[in-house]
């Protein structure tokens, strides 16, 4: 079977924003989409590098987001700060295991999955390997799909802090941990956005 036609070799570029396929401007000058004027790239520049950088930042920021408390709840008997895992445990012990499960998935499972997935893709890109390309693409789609669901925990903290304000009886306040967690989610999302999944199929021809 002959190789399929590739736009790279055919001198065609697809616009990332509106999808219009245009002819590449010769002489190495930058090309712009004739419809939406977005700069056209064959592949996202320094895709793997950017993705890796953001991934590393996300992993580093993940540590304080778990160690620092994310919320402070005060009642009549005093107040208590809790981290993400402590919150999960308190929900679980309190009998609210569906909520505990949801928060665990959103705050621990999903970021971990993203770290591993993006990390794997970047590593294989650097290794220029052809291993499991279809599966890697599927993995990338998964990452894109679940990416923003991690913000669930941030929304939970925000809503709780806004609603649980009873004068004298109880109040809830966010703490620094949730900011770091938000940064982690944003970083992984940017990392995923920076990663051009077409590189998986390039056999190392383009970086």
């Amino acid at each position: 079977m002959s190789d399929p036609i590739r736009t790279l070799t055919a001198g065609l570029l697809a616009c990332q924003t509106c999808g219009l396929v245009s002819r590449r401007v010769p002489d190495g000058r930058p090309s712009y989409c004739s419809r939406c004027a977005t700069k056209l790239h064959e592949r996202l520049p320094r895709s793997a590098e950017n993705a890796l950088a953001w991934l590393i930042a996300a992993v580093i920021l993940y540590i304080p987001s778990n160690l620092l408390p994310v919320m402070y709840v005060s009642g009549i008997g005093g107040g208590q700060e809790s981290t993400i895992l402590e919150g999960v445990l308190s929900f679980w012990r309190g009998g609210d295991w569906p909520i505990a499960l949801v928060i665990f998935i959103a705050s621990v499972a999903v970021p971990a999955t993203k770290f591993l997935a993006i990390g794997l893709i970047v590593w294989t890109l650097y290794r220029k390997s052809n291993w499991a390309r279809r599966q890697r693409t599927a993995l990338y789609r998964l990452v894109e799909l679940i990416g923003y669901w991690s913000m669930l925990d941030v929304v939970v903290v925000a809503l709780t802090s806004a609603l649980l304000q009873f004068e004298g009886i109880g109040a809830a306040e966010p703490r620094l941990g949730i900011v770091f967690f938000c940064a982690v989610v944003v970083a992984t999302m940017i990392s995923a956005l920076s990663l051009d999944s077409r590189l998986i199929w390039d056999n190392g021809a383009h970086q």
Partner: protein, 531 residues
């Protein structure tokens, strides 16, 4: 050149490191406190507070190695490092209730917490042993502490108030039994600025409860405050006529008196012991009963003993009394001035003179209700002279029986007299007289009465008859009437006869003239001669 995108993870690293460094730098001391129980303490929740400001939190609770107590680990703020002196005290604030006070009730809602009170020591440490009760004294409070010696603590609880003229100026901070077991020590703390009121002339007394006195001038009831009635309390004041009113340092020692009278009384001076021997029973005399000299209380009974007199086969009572000659007041000063009361020999001689003048010890009733006795040293007139041994260590004062005993003797005499009355004789005589009387009455009834009755009856009959006789319709009265009528007529006619004769004296001879109406008939008045 690597792209600028690597600043992003670099920034993340920097932020992470800064957090770590910040946490490490601001970390405060970690301490371990040993408590008897971890009741009310929760890891990660219980706070450590100083003057109600949170300075730390409990991080771990575990049992000690020997399982006898609990080790509580806490992490404190850096600023709390200055509190961790060697004598700092930690205690758990829980609800505590005593008589007249309650503390820590807010912890029912907010949960117990550990409170800390710093000390004065220069060294610091991180391992402490907690105290089970909050210390009574707050560190740094101005004032003075005072140590009192007392026979017993009475009803003084920790925290009992101390009053000066009914102002609360301090409280009890400690009380313990003396080392030798004879008495107690109470430590008070008098707050500034009232601590200057405590001078060398200050007297302390137990003012708790209710002070009741039934005296000659009436019933007196004294209390300090409701709190002191319930929880006990102390009061103090300056002794009257005191010369030395210099200030005292913290920790000065005083004696605790039982009540205000005892505290304010002039100092008693050295005691002397006297012995008295009573022949009769002294029921009602108890140890501690007062001894009075001419009405002034100069001491108390120290011991009451029974002795056996072989010769008289009786059990006299030996009473030992402790007297304070100084309580005689001015008399003592006067005696001291002319040198008769200064030492034992002179005192003995003085007492000898007094005894020669009639000084005796006599038991008297102090309280009619309870029958309590007291010993009165008084001059008894007509007392039998006794020999006085002035050289014995314990002066022996001669005695006379008590006033009640005389009363008893008199009563006994009266009873004896009553006893001697010939009651039997009188009874017998009375009996005989009664028998006689009985007989007389019987005679009277059987003999005199019927006769009397009969006489009465005949008398009545007589009276009836008299009544009849004198009645209006009695026949003899009629006859009498008739007779009287006839008599009257007769007399009338006689009179007219005499009248006629008076006018016609010749009628005696001649008879009546036929013109003349017959004698006795009324004639028409005729003017006639003198009649």
């Amino acid at each position: 050149m690597p792209s600028l995108i690597w600043l992003v993870p670099a920034a993340a690293v920097v932020i992470g490191l800064s957090l770590v460094v910040n946490a490490w730098v601001t970390a405060g001391p970690r301490i371990t406190i040993g408590f008897q129980t971890a009741q009310g303490l929760e890891v990660g929740k219980t706070l450590v507070k100083h003057r109600n400001v949170t300075i730390g939190q409990v991080t771990a609770i575990s049992l000690s190695k020997d399982g006898n107590h609990v080790l509580v680990s806490a992490e404190l703020l850096k600023s709390a490092r200055s509190l961790l002196t060697s004598d700092a005290q930690f205690w758990v604030v829980r609800p505590r209730v005593g008589i007249g006070w309650a503390s820590g009730l807010e912890t029912l809602l907010s949960g117990s917490y550990i409170a800390v009170e710093a000390g004065d020591a220069a060294t610091k440490r991180t391992e402490f042993v907690g105290v089970e009760n909050p210390p009574p004294l707050t560190h740094g409070v101005l004032g003075k502490s005072v140590l009192l010696h007392a026979a017993d603590v009475g009803s003084l609880a920790l925290g009992a108030p101390v009053y000066f003229r009914h102002f609360e100026v301090g409280h009890v901070i400690d009380r313990k039994i003396d080392a030798g077991g004879n008495g107690a020590r109470v430590v008070l703390f008098i707050d500034a600025p009232y601590d200057v009121l405590v001078t060398r002339a200050t007297r302390f007394w137990n003012a708790g409860g209710i002070d009741l006195a039934l005296r000659a001038d009436g019933f007196k009831l004294r209390t300090q405050s409701l709190a002191s009635v319930l929880a006990g309390g102390l009061a103090f004041d300056t002794a009257p006529n005191a010369q030395d009113v210099g200030p005292v340092a913290s920790g000065a020692e005083f004696t605790l008196f039982d009540d205000q009278e005892a505290a304010m009384a002039p100092p008693a001076g050295d005691p002397r012991y006297v012995r008295m021997r009573f022949e009769r029973s002294l029921r009602g005399l108890s140890v501690g009963a007062p001894v009075e000299f001419v009405g002034v209380n100069i001491g108390q009974v120290f011991a009451v003993d029974l002795d056996y007199d072989e010769a008289a086969k009786s059990f006299p009572v030996i009473v030992t009394a402790r007297i304070y000659p100084r309580r005689m007041g001015k008399a003592y000063l006067v005696l001291e001035q002319n040198g008769t009361a200064t030492n034992e020999e002179k005192t003995a001689r003085l007492v000898e003179q007094l005894v020669a003048r009639g000084l005796r010890a006599q038991p008297r009733t102090g309280n009619l209700l309870t029958g309590q006795l007291y010993i009165a040293l008084d001059f008894i007139s007509g007392a039998r002279p006794v020999r006085f041994a002035a050289n014995s260590q314990t002066l022996e004062i001669p005695t006379v029986p008590g006033g009640t005993q005389e009363l008893q003797q008199k009563l006994a005499a009266v009873v004896a007299k009553i006893d001697r009355l010939p009651i039997n004789e009188i009874g017998r005589q009375l009996h005989a007289d009664l028998v006689d009387l009985d007989q007389t009455i019987g005679d009277f009834r059987t003999q005199v009465l019927p006769a009397g009755t009969a006489s009465m009856q005949s008398l009545r009959t007589t009276l009836d008859r008299v009544n009849d006789t004198l009645a209006d319709d009695a026949s003899w009265r009629e006859r009498v009437d008739q007779t009287l009528d006839e008599a009257r007529r007769t007399l009338q006619s006689l009179r007219s006869l005499t009248d006629y004769l008076d006018r016609h004296p010749e009628a005696v001879l001649r008879g009546r003239h036929p013109s003349q109406p017959p004698v006795g008939e009324k004639s028409a008045p005729v003017a006639s001669g003198p009649q």
